[in-house]
């Protein structure tokens, strides 16, 4: 059945035009053409009028069954957003070339460093030997200037991935590119055409200067703070008293409800396949075609809310893993995530819109049946504000009393006095405001599931290891109170209660009258083989202090942290609690994260998971990869200042590289 689909596709591909790079290697004449083009740096290539050739597809050279790529990392001046910029390029372009590989192949990737500093490539999402993972100091020493490193990777998976530097802040200055591994048995869905859409962020500032600015002033790039004018508007909406109390509450906590992103459109130009919104990346299609779009967020510190107005999208793959097709109108893509969607456009142009989570800017492109057409570009929505839910303060009564209406929307005014009665006084402070600010509703099903399956713990405790009373695999975690320790001073404050927020698509989403994807919508295509209960649970807390731009895990920055020990062969539940008021895309190298989203054995697998503020979520890990692996926040600047850990997977009898106490070892 799948073979049929594949043959069908190849058939279609062979009778199509050059733009379908994905399959050109099957046609000799076209391969030659593609080959010539791909050795030229991007800026030197002839402009065909269409930017659909971005990112530039690069076919491997086959040497005795091994797919070989030569990748040159070098600094080049290239045009970005119409200005001349100095970028770290891969084979001359930003993003780097689109690498096409096949499942079952062995890949040899020769990476030459032509920079004056160390570099590296990490193959994001690939399951590979630890020494090929590309994290300097963890997997290997890095690639020194003038050196060439040969990555040898047996490809035993398929899907949409990407690659990027793991050295310093190089990823911010262009060192990233897409990577697609074709499935051995063909796709389980049909499409006529495919485009890779790499979303990213560019700054003309030196990224180290960006970091220095943030260290001096955490809100340096936030140009959407609440003003007196906002206050008067709020007074008009909800009255003087509630508006004043709301402002007072945030001031009391020394938190800023507009603190959504550290780095914003104030310095960022958001790119789609390396092109600024005005440059309008364009992809062509023929009406009636099914088009597969591979979305990759290569942004160093950006979240994009992706939609194609007028066109529903069917999500078929997340993190390179098939999911049961789910139709949506919008999805949030966290830094380092990938989403594959299929669309069926009509005979008209469409805008592909990637709006920054804080609404400070957008990446934009066009899909059109004919060259030169464009569709209206939506205006930016109002920037979202953090709410009580982001502090874990809007649901205390649920856990305690459970007598409240399950309709979250009605929870504002009438419910508040009850809440004030005993549980959380903060809540009573701003009953009306919670609603007025557009509270992110929690999903009751998530809570119900948590309640049913029962976490036996009472407190969310950083670093704790549990082996008893673990809830069934695949279920959502329950709601817990945060432990008294707030991890100060590395961490500014903790949520009162933490719980699953997976059924909510995220701040600022879900109130526009269209469908938005949530993690709970994701179901694996097939039941997970060997799906079983965890042996052990390890809980880690994501911590930070925005005033100082300090970011850490369990209140300890990487510099002072011990290794995290996973036991080889165990089935581990990794529970993450976000104690901060920002979203963090957490990425584990070397092993899949099975995201416990309430779908039981249809558990989706990811390499990167976004953890919302005040969220408690868990993942199951088959600890099957001995070696040292990085685990970190994929917001580049959070990682750089300490939101990073090294996980050590030891076989029985093996000696730790840093013997002594380790986090998460009982």
């Amino acid at each position: 059945m799948e073979k049929d689909i594949l043959l069908d596709q190849i058939d279609r591909v062979l009778s199509s035009r050059v733009s379908r790079r994905g399959f050109v290697q099957t046609a000799g004449a076209l391969t030659a053409l593609a080959g010539i083009e791909s050795i030229l740096p991007g800026y030197a290539r002839p402009q065909t009028g269409s930017s659909a050739a971005r990112p530039y597809a690069l076919e491997p050279r086959m040497e005795g069954g091994t797919a070989v790529y030569d990748l040159d990392i070098a600094e080049h001046r290239i045009p970005i957003a119409g200005r001349s910029a100095t970028a770290v390029t891969i084979n001359g372009t930003v993003p780097g070339p689109l690498l096409h590989l096949y499942e079952g192949q062995d890949a040899l990737l020769r990476v030459s460093n032509q920079l004056h500093e160390d570099t590296s490539i990490h193959w994001h999402g690939l399951i590979l030997p630890p020494e090929m993972d590309g994290v300097p100091g963890v997997s290997f020493p890095g690639i020194l200037p003038g050196q060439t490193f040969e990555y040898r990777i047996p490809l035993r998976q398929h899907g949409t991935y990407w690659y990027h530097s793991h050295s310093g802040l190089q990823e911010q200055v262009g060192h990233y590119g897409p990577l697609i591994i074709k499935p051995e048995g063909g796709y389980p869905y049909q499409f006529d055409r495919e485009y890779t859409i790499v979303l990213s962020d560019w700054t003309f500032e030196d990224p180290y200067q960006v970091l220095q600015n943030l260290k001096k002033q955490g809100n340096y790039y936030n140009r959407q703070r609440l003003t007196l004018i906002d206050f008067f508007r709020q007074v008009g909406r909800i009255g003087l008293g509630p508006a004043f109390r709301d402002r007072l509450m945030w001031d009391q906590m020394r938190m800023d409800p507009t603190d959504v992103m550290d780095i914003t459109g104030a310095t960022y130009t958001y790119l789609m396949n390396g092109l600024a919104p005005a440059e309008n990346w364009t992809g062509l299609f023929q009406p009636g075609e099914r088009v597969l779009l591979h979305f990759i967020n290569s942004g160093a510190a950006s979240y994009f809310d992706v939609r194609i107005p007028g066109l529903p999208m069917t999500v078929v793959q997340v993190s390179g893993q098939y999911v049961q097709p789910v139709e949506t109108d919008e999805f949030r893509i966290a830094s380092a995530e990938t989403y594959d969607v299929i669309i069926e456009p009509q005979d008209r142009p469409y805008t592909v819109f990637g709006e920054s989570m804080d609404r400070s800017g957008y990446a934009r492109g066009t899909l059109t049946p004919r060259e030169g057409l464009t569709a209206p570009v939506p205006s930016l929505r109002k920037r979202p504000l953090l709410t009580m839910a982001d502090m874990g303060m809007d649901h205390g009564v649920m856990g305690e009393g459970g007598s409240m209406s399950m309709d979250h929307g009605s929870m504002s005014m009438p419910a508040a006095p009850a809440a004030a009665a005993g549980v959380h006084d903060m809540m009573a402070m701003t009953p009306a405001v919670t609603q007025a600010a557009g509270t992110a509703p929690h999903d009751m099903s998530a809570m119900a599931a948590g309640a049913q399956t029962g976490d036996t713990a009472k407190y969310a405790i950083a670093g704790i290891v549990r082996t008893q009373g673990l809830r069934p695999p695949g279920t959502l975690p329950g709601m817990l109170e945060h432990e008294p320790d707030i991890h100060a001073p590395e961490n500014a404050a903790v949520p009162m209660m933490v719980q699953s927020r997976m059924s909510h698509p995220g701040m600022g989403l879900g109130t526009d009258g269209w469908r938005v994807l949530a993690y709970t919508d994701l179901r694996a295509l097939e039941p997970r083989q060997g799906f079983r209960a965890p042996d052990r649970e390890l809980e880690l807390h994501l911590t930070g202090n925005m005033e100082r731009f300090m970011w850490s895990i369990n209140g300890v920055p990487f510099k002072d942290a011990e290794l995290i020990r996973f036991n080889y062969g165990e089935r581990l539940r990794l529970t993450l609690v976000n104690d901060t008021m920002m979203n963090h895309p957490m990425h584990l190298h070397g092993m899949w994260l099975e995201l416990e989203n309430g779908q039981g054995e249809l558990i989706p697998r990811v390499h990167t998971v976004n953890v919302q503020p005040a969220e408690r979520l868990s993942m199951l890990i088959d600890v099957d990869a001995p070696g040292m692996w990085a685990f970190h926040c994929h917001i580049l600047y959070h990682m750089e200042v300490g939101m990073f850990r090294v996980v050590e997977v030891l076989r029985p009898g093996e000696e730790s590289i840093e013997p002594g106490a380790t986090e998460g070892h009982d």
């Binding site: 160390d118 100091g137 290997f140 731009f549 990487f558 300490g642 840093e658």
Partner: protein
């Protein structure tokens, strides 16, 4: 006088050292052998940063003394441990006189929002009467609940006199760039120190409101009004010297940092 010179020299040395350290801190050196885990721990870290902020650098043209005044803060160091320099002073343009103080402290982040500071403060007056004195200084600086900058300090002078000061400032964003900053400050003393014009009890209270426009984050000219009042023995000493007890002045200035 020698003391003040010495202190200024120290300040300069500190300042120069900080700048050098800043330059070193921002240029990364990579070892030729590549990186090990220990190197990564060292590199993937908050590291060091520095700030030099002239919070107020202003002129009060309508008063008799027409002073140019300065209120500045600088720090260098990591996320938790920093070297702080605080300077305040005014130079009268109507006469040759002026006064200034400089405070050098070690600061450590003790709560998420507050640094504890310990160091020395040196006061200096010049012009008609010239005098110098030094203090030990202990204090806090940070963001208080209510989101206002709050810094209480206590000082023990070389003569054993104990005094204190509390300062608070709040930022009101009218727009993203137009910002009103009200501030208050109160000086208190335990002893009379007539040679420095200080009476015991509440000595002087200051309040100000400055409206700045941030062309860039780092560059904001402002207009404001600054008011001060002396109390009790301090007021009496001021009157004795022919100084006013209550002053109010329009100020024009600039707030810059890097």
């Amino acid at each position: 006088m020698t003391k003040s010179v010495l202190c200024s020299a120290r300040g300069l040395i500190w300042f120069a050292a900080s700048l050098c350290a800043l330059m070193v801190g921002t240029s990364r050196s990579v070892e030729a052998q590549g990186l090990g885990l220990a190197d990564l721990r060292h590199m993937m870290d908050w590291g060091n940063a520095s700030l030099i902020l002239f919070d107020q650098l202003e002129y009060a043209p309508t008063t008799d003394d027409r002073p140019i005044s300065l209120d500045a803060i600088a720090w260098y160091g990591g996320a938790r441990n920093r070297l702080w320099l605080r300077a305040e002073g005014e130079q009268l343009t109507a006469t040759e006189g002026g006064e200034g103080e400089i405070q050098l402290s070690y600061g450590r982040l003790i709560t998420p929002f507050f640094d504890a500071l310990a160091g020395v403060r040196v006061d200096q007056t010049w012009g008609e009467k010239s005098a110098t004195r030094a203090h030990l200084a202990l204090g806090l600086a940070g963001l208080a609940p209510g989101r206002f900058e709050f810094s209480p300090s206590v000082f023990l002078s070389q003569d054993g006199d104990l005094s204190g000061r509390v300062e608070a400032e709040y930022q009101v964003l009218i727009t993203q760039q137009l910002i009103a900053a009200p501030e208050v400050g109160v000086d208190v003393a335990l002893q009379d120190v007539p040679e420095w014009g200080v009476g015991s009890g509440i000595g002087e209270a200051e309040a100000g409101l400055r409206l700045r426009y941030e062309f860039r984050r780092e560059f904001a000219p402002y207009l404001g009004y600054s008011w001060s009042r002396r109390f009790g023995e301090t007021a009496r000493l001021a009157r004795e010297h022919g100084e006013s007890v209550t002053e109010g002045a329009l100020v024009a200035g600039i707030r810059i940092w890097r």
